[in-house]
């Protein structure tokens, strides 16, 4: 496969040299039609069910949100909500809906649709994987997890949460787990009281009137409008869902709210959406239809792109080996993305319990060289992606410094009789670098392995693992030493990365957890002034960099391609496109420029 790919590249170079500025054949489709490769076959077209990027790319055509993603910067812009305001220290938001919102079947969309949708998404019976996205909304977690409130049968009052007195106390619904929770001292008052299950109606979303929606939150979430661009919060139609159940997403039943509506869906073949005349912003929509092609093989995608059979491919499709060549074309899209790659340390096992060892291993890796070697990455020393959050005073992590790394290992006691650094004293048998099977992961692992060997004299073995096995091993902290990881931000805010360490479980994976860190995050989010909030978040990030539970490696680059006649699609940090802005420019004179979007 590799040999074939490089053969193709050779062909690519010669062919393109004769063609000039763009890669492969440039022949725009006849009308306003876009052909886009969207990634793996979508699991489902129900935005409550599917959590992946391949689906998200399609959902942005089918479903609108209160807010939408800015095509250029990925920050939230008004969509179904024309404006909003927050109050009570970012714990309450009021959204004002547009007057002309309709489903694709013509029925009006009101605040009640949003309320019904969110309750459905959180219903335990639906078992939505992304339900946690909404856990910051009042009692959403309690309802989704089947939790109970504690009610005093005499007064009818609910017991307050000792940790957060403005909210009711929530206990596990399952009796055994509840007994355990009740063993805590400050909950003594809850024993013998009445336990009332949390219901859908308790969730903090409320239709004030047909065009006003109020959301109450468990904690201050200043980035809520950004969060709401996620597919989980895009409303789904009550009528068809109640009528057809799981089959509501079939082309013959589906009702959508976005700029487009579903026409054809042939699994593993194509999914065609056509213009939705009922969309509130239909006048702006220029494309008549978009054909999404689901597929898995990246070389095939590039072949289709080069042959001019598709107009754009999703991010990360161009193989790294091609990138040096592709960069010379104007249709190559290269910007930083809201995604990082890093290695986790298992901080619960020696020798990585020692922060000096963690720092030493980090400082011995030349990340600039790594990024250059990887081609589609930018170097990363901090933990949040560099250069995508305007105004965020990002702290710097430790630079590449092999001599300082050695000094740290000396401090940690890995010395010979003379007191000099002795690599043979480092227990490399307890260190192992585990990654999930993929060529690119292997390349990085070998690169890092060579750096440790070269700069510290340590031979650390590397091991690959099948994806699902790897996830299970990592989550259980069953890995020896070091494990690969990556994170794609859910919304445009540094918090989406920092929150990884806000629990000991979940995606943390390192075993490092510090309540002081969590306090810092909470304090930051209470901050009303966005700049002050950013400063607090930067403090929290600094804490991560000081404790070093991870080795930051790289920020992803967007790495995708679009033909010069495709306009209104930009390399934004999320690489998700509000399709209403996209169109086909048939005039070759205008191909060189990418005019900025007009946002209302």
């Amino acid at each position: 496969m590799v040999a074939a790919a490089s053969l193709l590249c050779i062909a690519g170079c010669t062919k393109a040299a004769s063609h000039g500025r763009y890669f492969g054949k440039v022949s725009p489709p006849a009308g306003q039609e876009l052909r886009y490769i969207s990634g793996s076959e979508p699991e489902s077209l129900d935005p409550h069910i599917s959590t992946g990027q391949p689906e998200a790319r399609i959902f942005l055509a089918l479903y609108d949100g209160l807010t939408e993603i800015h095509p250029l910067t990925s920050v939230p812009i008004p969509s179904m909500a024309e404006r909003w305001e927050s109050s009570i220290g970012n714990t309450e938001f009021v959204f004002h809906l547009r007057a002309n919102l309709r489903w694709s079947d013509g029925t009006p969309i009101t605040a009640d649709d949003f309320v019904w949708s969110l309750r459905r998404g959180l219903a335990p019976a639906l078992a939505a994987r992304a339900a946690y996205m909404a856990y910051d909304i009042e009692y959403a977690q309690a309802y989704n997890e089947g939790g109970v409130f504690v009610k005093d049968p005499k007064t009818g009052r609910f017991m307050a949460d000792p940790d957060s007195p403005e909210h009711r106390l929530v206990l596990p619904g399952e009796p055994k787990a509840r007994e355990k929770a009740l063993a805590a001292e400050d909950l003594a008052g809850a024993r013998g009281q009445q336990f009332v299950p949390a219901r859908a109606e308790d969730v903090g979303i409320e239709a004030v009137d047909a065009r006003t929606l109020r959301l109450r939150l468990m904690r201050p979430i200043p980035f809520l409008p950004g969060l709401l661009t996620h597919q989980f919060f895009r409303p789904v139609p009550r009528g068809p869902i109640e009528k057809y159940g799981d089959a509501w997403t079939r082309p013959e039943h589906i009702v959508t709210s976005g700029a487009f509506t579903l026409q054809t869906w042939k699994p593993y073949d194509r999914l065609i959406v056509v213009r939705n005349p009922m969309f509130w912003d239909a006048a702006r929509v220029k494309l008549d239809r978009i054909t999404f092609y689901p597929m898995d093989d990246y070389t095939t995608m590039m072949n289709l792109y080069k042959a001019g059979d598709v107009d754009a491919v999703f991010n990360h499709v161009p193989p790294a080996a091609w990138v040096d060549d592709l960069r010379t074309y104007q249709d190559y899209m290269d910007k930083p993305e809201i995604a990082i790659e890093y290695y986790m340390y298992n901080t619960t096992r020696p020798p990585l319990t020692d922060v000096r060892v963690r720092k030493a291993l980090n400082m011995a890796i030349d990340k600039v060289a790594l990024a250059r070697y990887r081609r589609t990455q930018k170097p990363l020393t901090a933990f949040t992606p560099e250069g995508i959050f305007p105004g965020y005073p990002q702290p710097a992590g430790d630079p590449f410094d092999p001599s300082r790394a050695k000094a740290l290992l000396v401090e940690a006691g890995y010395t010979n009789a003379a007191g000099a650094y002795d690599p043979s004293r480092v227990p490399v048998a307890d260190l192992e670098l585990t990654y999930n099977t993929a060529d690119s992961n292997k390349q990085v692992a070998e690169f890092v392995q060579a750096q440790w060997k070269q700069n510290l004299g340590l031979t650390i073995s590397i091991k690959n693992m099948e994806w699902k096995t790897f996830l299970a091993t990592r989550a259980a902290l069953d890995y020896k030493g070091i494990a690969r990881s990556g994170w794609i931000g859910d919304y445009m805010d540094p918090y989406t990365f920092l929150a990884l360490f806000s629990t000991v479980a979940g995606d943390n994976g390192t075993g490092w957890f510090d309540p002081k860190f969590v306090d810092l995050l909470v304090a930051a989010n209470r901050e009303i002034d966005p700049q002050k909030r950013f400063e607090r978040l930067a403090e929290a990030e600094k804490m991560i960099l000081d404790v070093q539970p991870v080795i930051p490696l790289t920020t992803q680059a967007t790495n995708w391609m679009k033909k010069p006649y495709v306009k209104g699609m930009y390399a934004n940090p999320q690489d998700l496109f509000a399709w209403k802005f996209a169109y086909i420019e048939h005039d070759p004179a205008k191909w060189a420029e990418d005019p900025p979007p007009v946002i209302n």
Partner: protein
């Protein structure tokens, strides 16, 4: 003969059951789940999912449900592709694989038998060497190399053929069929050649020639019958494999066939879909083998069922 067929059909049932049970067990042993992904899911949500799909029930209940489903010929709903019944996935993707596989096999049979026969009638001639060299290449070059090379030449350099995708019966089929066919073409050519060479040396061919039959009649009526027996026994499993989906070709050419589903179903731990495809494939293999045995009876006068 009828008793033979019935007996064979009856033994199919326990064999399929064994294959399916083993597969079911392997999916259980494999780590991870259809719902596990890059992001950890809160325990309570995992509970919700397990309850929704009945994974919180004891294993024998789940096993019983699976066997019951198969007995009814309904493989259930895919766990990964929510709302899509496995039967429907089989119904839409099988024709794609079947068309592709059948075309490839027919092409392989025609070219393979023809060149094998010609080579056998003129052993050690230039034609023989040429066709056997071509066959050797066909066997040695894997389809994940052949496919991209064809694409490079015909789609990206000459811009004659589309590089991938399914458009029904169209020029899009040419390269996938060729890619898929090459290996089988080569095998069949070699099998035909060696089978024919052996038969042409046998006594009954000498008898036929002695009777004064033309060389053409000897070849077509007598030699070919015996010479093709190895091809027939090769064809059963080969055809079953081909029409139930071929992962590499379907991926390289982005075709919506069963092979694509099968590989992804395994990676996704999509139990009903894996079981459905495994059951279907094993039944197909058993039936094709039965067909081969029956064909033997027709072709070879020494075989009596």
């Amino acid at each position: 003969m009828l008793r033979f067929v019935l007996r064979r059909l009856l033994t199919t049932i326990p064999m399929v059951l064994v294959v399916v049970s083993l597969t079911w067990g392997l999916i259980r042993i494999a780590p991870g789940n259809f719902y596990s992904g890059e992001r950890a899911i809160p325990a309570a949500i995992v509970q919700n999912i397990r309850a929704k799909y009945g994974l919180d029930k004891p294993w024998y209940v789940q096993y019983g449900r699976m066997v019951g489903n198969i007995a009814r010929g309904d493989f259930g709903i895919s766990l990964k592709y929510l709302g899509q019944p496995v039967n429907e996935i089989l119904r839409t993707s099988l024709p794609v694989s079947a068309i592709l596989g059948t075309l490839a096999y027919v092409l392989a049979l025609v070219v393979g038998i023809l060149s094998g026969t010609i080579a056998a009638t003129r052993p050690n001639s230039r034609v023989d060497y040429a066709s056997m060299t071509a066959a050797m290449v066909g066997i040695s070059v894997p389809n994940f190399v052949l496919g991209p090379v064809l694409v490079m030449v015909f789609s990206l350099t000459l811009f004659w053929l589309p590089p991938a995708r399914w458009e029904g019966f169209s020029v899009n089929l040419i390269m996938p069929v060729l890619t898929l066919s090459a290996l089988y073409m080569a095998y069949i050519a070699r099998l035909t050649r060696s089978g024919m060479l052996e038969v042409l040396r046998s006594n009954y061919i000498r008898t036929a020639r002695a009777k004064g039959l033309s060389e053409r009649q000897v070849l077509l009526r007598h030699a070919l019958r015996g010479g093709l027996l190895p091809v027939v026994s090769f064809s059963g499993p080969a055809l079953a494999y081909l029409i139930t989906g071929t992962v590499v070709v379907e991926r390289v050419f982005a075709l919506p066939g069963l092979g694509n589903y099968f590989i992804n179903a395994n990676l996704n731990r999509d139990e009903p879909l894996v079981i459905g495809i495994v059951a279907f494939t094993s039944i197909a293999i058993l039936l094709f083998n039965l067909a081969v045995d029956l064909l033997y009876g027709l072709i070879d006068p020494r075989v009596r069922l």
